[in-house]
Symmetry: C2
Subunit: 216 residues, 2 copies
Amino acid sequence: MSVTVVSLALMTAVTDIAYHRVMGRWEPNARERLFLAALELYAERGFEQTTVAEIARRAGLTERTFFRHFPDKREVLFTGSDGMVGQLAEVIARAPQESLPLGAVAEALGAVARPMQERREGVLARQKVVAAHAELRERELVKRSKLVAGTVEALEARGVGPRAARLSAEVALGVFHVAFERWVGADGETRELPDMIAETFAELREVAVGGGVPAG
Amino acid sequence: MSVTVVSLALMTAVTDIAYHRVMGRWEPNARERLFLAALELYAERGFEQTTVAEIARRAGLTERTFFRHFPDKREVLFTGSDGMVGQLAEVIARAPQESLPLGAVAEALGAVARPMQERREGVLARQKVVAAHAELRERELVKRSKLVAGTVEALEARGVGPRAARLSAEVALGVFHVAFERWVGADGETRELPDMIAETFAELREVAVGGGVPAG
């Protein structure tokens, strides 16, 4: 398998924020270098066959540095994820006071989708590796449930009641997930992820109201 | 944080169907006996500290019998889950031709919720054990994604297009999950799960259309 990963990491913007905040000045871009090294190795020889030592070596770093950044060789592929929780929360907090919960989350998801769109190739390469390994798919599901939890928190911080917050977060992340799958899965897809998210939210309204159901 | 945990097992009605179909006449109720023994032991001494041999012993069965039914000690807590996929698919298949996709799934979820309601205590006991162990929470998330996949298939078999099927399944299982959490989480909850599912689908319509958002 030769998925060459030349593109930069998933959501570097987000990664950078997390990186600068947490790690200060040592080993510039260590998280991203480790992420890219892991992505390459998992694509080349599989997740199981790759060791942390090999990832560190390919990144030009030590194993100790790896474990300063990530608890295990699964987590290294989810470096953007924690940053994404923070970014979602920030956009939700800034949403106009009159925004309805689902609208605020929809806007936040559109915002985090922009850097993903800019790095489409890298995101697709990562997605391929995750899809190919059960352990990574599991971790992805866990991360997704953390996104829901973070979104609930952010909505509650705006004064949204827990019931509405939970339902809105769960449904919005479901919509995001469907839009993301469409964007990833469509060969030669030219529409951009933020647009596809907006479109899927519009479909949600049709599906939920029962006024009509998209035929596709 | 509270990783979302949809409890889908412990629907013994479903389990029994799967059991009789797959296992024939050996060891009557082996699956359920193993399930109950595991549930007890995980609650008493924790998931990590319990061995398959101990589960089998408490169930009055052999380790070999355990492995004829379950690949590992996580799976034993999800014995109802595969049956639930089949039950959902059956109800979706039987839904009136004019039913909209989301309506068909909502009805199916109401149907699988009935046996869960009848065994509320058992479902809560299982839920407590799952919530307490990361490995079990992960497996639960995997099972949930399989329910979504099974629901998509069932909708497509009705002629629903893949886009609408995916979106409806994802959103409907999200709604179910929220309703389930409310039912599990509310001390002294007297409303029944099928009613709470119907109520949460009604809230979805409000949330999605933006006409109003529940304050709770």
